[in-house]
């Protein structure tokens, strides 16, 4: 008798577990459904554009995919492109999730890069110290840059949305001055001296010439993944992560519950800025090895976008950053092999974001479609209806 009851209770438990897992999975599916639909819609509109400029969209998308994920080399290029975006995406996600609007990831990225570059070329140290110190300098540079808007909000009550945007410009011009004057190496180009060998992040080709031939993919990807795992752990398993999440979900509730709002805000901002800065220095030490004025732009903004694409979750934005990196690698390859301007791909990316933001449009379409059905079920009903055989509908 007792064994029977335990058996049924186990059965019950496992069926409940199963239900719960199913619920979570369907939740996940539901969440990513928006993204998938947005990507599909963007691909369709992108196809129209390609047809207008006289390209076969199927060929373009095939080449895009091949150049992003289709070969070992493509994968390494994607990896190299995705590495900085993972940092900036995580940086953005931390800020978003903590309820802080850090639009200054861009500036923090480059300030971190220049700070790390300086430590990288100015000192002679053994690698075991030099590399970590350079990385630390990047982290601190980014955090310090993020501290300026933080301070302005705490002391003067100025919204960080405005100040983080403005500090991006200041960062760009400050670095321009630094690379043109005090840190300039030769009169010919506005660039800093090259970083010491001891401060460089090895590239895969350095380790094995056959591994990632013709790419600049570097071991910085492991630092990026470590950051992903650590922040994921913080959010899920620590008190700090709990405070961050709660403040992000409801500031008023958190304040009522006794969470120190100032501390959380400052902490979220500094860590977000630090990770952006770390991304900057990793990019320099792994790929460029010196700071050329205006060597690139947009890492921060792309990170913001990847974070949005990934639903602001740590894992989601990491996947989105890799996807974004793949698109970039693919676009690059396209440009080389067929001469299709990569701006076309940028447009597709823009369209993806646009269609994600246009969720209201989905439910609007949905409502039109289901005029006599049940409104308010969103995309799920829309999709369900699409896949339901007509016959069934008649019986309903």
């Amino acid at each position: 008798m007792p064994s029977k009851t335990t058996k049924t209770s186990v059965l019950l438990k496992s069926s409940q577990m199963f239900k719960l897992i199913l619920m979570q999975l369907s939740g996940l599916f539901r969440k990513s459904l928006n993204v998938i639909m947005a990507i599909l819609a963007a691909a369709v509109v992108g196809s129209i554009l390609m047809l207008i400029v006289g390209r076969n969209p199927f060929v373009v998308y095939r080449l895009l995919f091949q150049n992003a994920f289709g070969s070992e080399r493509a994968l390494f290029i994607t990896m190299q492109r995705a590495t900085p975006l993972i940092f900036t995406a995580i940086s953005s996600s931390i800020a978003f999730r903590t309820g802080v609007f850090n639009v200054g990831v861009e500036g923090q990225f480059f300030i971190g890069a220049i700070a790390g570059t300086f430590v990288g070329y100015a000192f002679q140290l053994p690698m075991i110290l030099h590399l970590p110190l350079s990385l630390l300098a990047g982290f601190l540079g980014g955090a310090a840059w993020a501290y300026i808007p933080t301070l302005m909000r705490q002391k003067l009550g100025i919204s960080e949305i405005i100040t983080t945007i403005m500090t991006n410009y200041i960062a760009t011009f400050l670095i321009s001055w630094l690379t043109n004057y005090p840190m300039r190496e030769t009169p010919l180009v506005a660039e800093t001296p090259i970083v010491q060998n001891t401060a460089r992040i090895p590239q895969f080709v350095n380790l094995n010439p056959n591994l990632a031939k013709g790419t600049q993919a570097h071991l910085g990807i492991f630092i990026a993944l470590a950051v992903v795992i650590i922040t994921w752990y913080i959010f899920k398993y620590t008190k700090l992560g709990y405070q961050w999440r709660m403040v992000g979900l409801s500031a008023l509730f958190s304040e009522f519950g006794g969470i120190n709002m100032d501390k959380t805000f400052i902490g979220g901002m500094l860590v977000s800025g630090g990770i952006a800065g770390l991304g900057g220095v990793v990019e320099i030490l792994g790929v460029w090895r010196r700071y050329k004025d205006l060597f690139a732009t947009g890492f921060g903004f792309k990170g913001n976008l990847a974070s949005l694409l990934g639903g602001q979750s740590i894992i989601g934005s990491t996947i989105a950053a890799i996807f974004y990196g793949g698109l970039e690698a693919g676009a690059l390859g396209l440009e080389w092999s067929t001469g299709i301007p990569r701006q076309l791909i940028d447009i597709v990316v823009g369209l993806i974001i646009f269609f994600m933001a246009a969720q209201g449009m989905w439910s609007f379409l949905n409502k039109l479609k289901l005029k006599n059905g049940k409104p308010g079920e969103g995309m799920m009903a829309f999709v369900k209806r699409m896949f339901t055989p007509k016959r069934k509908e008649e019986t309903l």
């Binding site: 719960l20 008190k239 700090l240 992560g241 709990y242 999440r245 709660m246 409801s250 008023l252 006794g258």
Partner: protein, 521 residues
Amino acid sequence: MTYEIEMIGIRKEFPGVVANDNIDFAVRKGEIHALVGENGAGKSTLMNVLFGLYQPDAGTIKIRGEEVKFNNNLDSIAKGIGMVHQSFKLVPSFTVAENITLGHEPSKLGFVDKDAVRENVIKISKRFGLKVDPDSRIRDMPVGIQQRVEILKALYLLSDILILDEPTGVLTPQETDELFEVVRSLVATGITVIFITHKFREVMAISDRVTVLRDGKWIGTKDTKDTNPKELARMMVGREVLLRIDKTEANPKEQVLTVENLKVLDNRLQEAVRDVSLSVKAGEILGIAGVEGNGQRELVEGIIGLRTAVAGDIRINGKSITKMSVRQRRDYGISCVPEDRYVRGVALRASLEDNLIIENYDKAPISKGQVLNLKKIAQHASRLISEFDIRTPSSKVIASTLSGGNLQKVVLAREIDARPKLLIVAQPTRGLDVGSIEFVHRRILEARDRGAAVLLVSAELEEVMSLSDRIAVLYEGNIVGTVKGGEATEEELGLMMAGITDEGEDQRDSHSVEQQVSQEV
């Protein structure tokens, strides 16, 4: 006989619930028909079907004997149905006249004809005897008058069937009486009124007939004069309910909370709490009665530390906590059930587990060092869910999926489980149904009997009177009187809430109050 409204066999299903299950509902012309039921019984759904906001899955609607089909609320408005929602839909920065005519403004050459707007509003307000000043702005008006504007807005669209969705929730007893007068005068002009409520006093006071819903089903329709609150409660809940909770005598012990000459500012930096002194002993409930907006919110937020005290002192067991942070005060033994449950009480987008640990996430066994113990968090949540009978499919769902009553249980569970020395409960049963109210009241009494000092703030006079051992009345930031719980009458408290004290001194004139305060200071 033809009814004014006839709803036959109405069925409305939402994913996972049948909100209305074969409901028949008929209203006679010129009557006041009360529609009662617990939250989730299907009242609002039924009315939204009648108002054209939802389309029923089955059933027919007849207006004056003629079968109709509403695709949206414009169709129902065209048939003369008007609805006053629970939360007002007014533009605070617009004038009364602008609000009433919004969307249907008389125009001249494509511009809004402001004079005609005013005239129309004056005309309609005269016709129905509802006095309002067409030029004053909504944000400057008390809620009672705002509601009058809402009613006028419906009447302006030529409604002769008026749905009032829980109209008294935000009113004082006096304002409620005024509303009743208004409703009666409207009915006298031939208008039909459907009155949604879950207060029996109101059903008995105003309605001609009453229909009870439970779990989406029609339970019964009665002539009001043939029924009584006890019977209605039984119909609503499906079992016997104690309308007034039995409680034992308080057994007050040492003084826990002492507030001395407290002064707190509101968001506009006006003195909301002017000079409040009070004390609560362990094992007693001090009720704070008063019309909302007389400093209750600021008083509570001042005590729990969300607002700083500009003057005065707050002590717990003799130790001053005036300078402490919210966290420190919580750790010192203060818990609070806040009045805005959806804003302060829970994080709607967070899971129940996360919502239930905000009080103790930094203490063992929930966390150790920096690390949270997810297993303990889940156990903690399931224990509270079963102890407080929170109806939820799982502790992992986000709070917004729960009903209002269950959310309040989440808040109560968390705050009472902390075993506070001082428990503050603000508007603990607002918007809850009879069954939940009984539950909440029982828990508050249990906390008292366990030795907590309880400060109860409520705009619901009945609640204050049935729970409190002592009652203090707050008016314009001052305590205008304190009475013993058992001895107070509704009339006496009502007068004090309006600022009229025994000395016959009318404090409605705010100047005299200010003078009085400045003299005291």
